[in-house]
């Protein structure tokens, strides 16, 4: 699809500036996100192409203002909804629980 993810050849994003001694994860939640995705992927419920397409379908402004592992979270939520493994109500309940945890 002609989505915002297809950035090759575009200008205006600034220079690529690799971190020195880049850590594998920048926060503990990223480590958990990695484990969650890998465990879900290993079940074979979805394939890598479905995973990538769910990221491409993010709203363009949201895609550009969220991080790599936030893209993974969005995709995992979407494919699990699409495959019927979780319900919209379960997902919204987990969001509100997470919000309470932050309050």
């Amino acid at each position: 699809m002609d989505g915002i993810h297809d950035l090759g050849g575009m200008h205006g994003f600034g220079r690529i500036d690799p971190e020195t001694d880049e850590p594998r994860f920048h926060a503990e939640w990223e480590r958990r996100m990695f484990g969650l995705m890998m465990a879900a992927f290993a079940t074979g419920i979805f394939n890598v192409d479905e995973f990538r397409h769910a990221i491409e379908c993010m709203a363009p402004a949201e895609y550009l203002t969220t991080s790599y592992y936030e893209h993974w979270l969005h995709s995992l939520e979407q494919v699990m909804l699409e495959k019927g493994e979780i319900s919209r109500a379960e997902l919204e309940l987990s969001w509100s629980k997470a919000a309470e945890g932050l309050a």
């Binding site: 050849g9 290993a42 079940t43 192409d49 990538r52 397409h53």
Partner: protein
């Protein structure tokens, strides 16, 4: 729901990760062939970057047979076909005035993305 048991985690993630399929499906192209990339504005998934549409390149190597992501992303089956590494001259992609002559870009491309020149 399927689960990944704790005692299978290490073996699962240290196993070979290639999605290459053993198949005698014929390749449409061979190394050295000139190709042109199809122009297609599918609203579904593809591994074909927009900046390559309509560009000419040369088959660099044949990776073997793989499923087509454009199909697999939408539950439409594997549609097995060859995947090639294709070389594009930087000038072909960005314009000769904006590229160094010695530079090139290599991209992995499925048979369905390519036409003979």
């Amino acid at each position: 729901m399927l689960v990944l048991p704790a005692d299978k985690v290490i073996s699962t993630f240290t196993a070979s990760g290639s999605l290459r399929v053993d198949s005698d499906i014929a390749a449409k192209f061979k190394s050295g062939d000139s190709v042109v990339v199809r122009t297609m504005h599918s609203s579904g998934h593809t591994r074909l970057p927009r900046y390559l549409r309509g560009k000419r390149g040369v088959i660099h190597m044949d990776h073997g047979v793989f499923g087509l992501p454009d199909s697999k992303a939408h539950g439409q089956g594997e549609r097995l076909q060859h995947v090639y590494n294709v070389r594009f001259a930087a000038g072909e992609l960005w314009g000769r005035a904006y590229a160094f002559e010695r530079d090139s870009v290599h991209v992995d491309m499925w048979d369905d993305y390519l036409e003979p020149v």
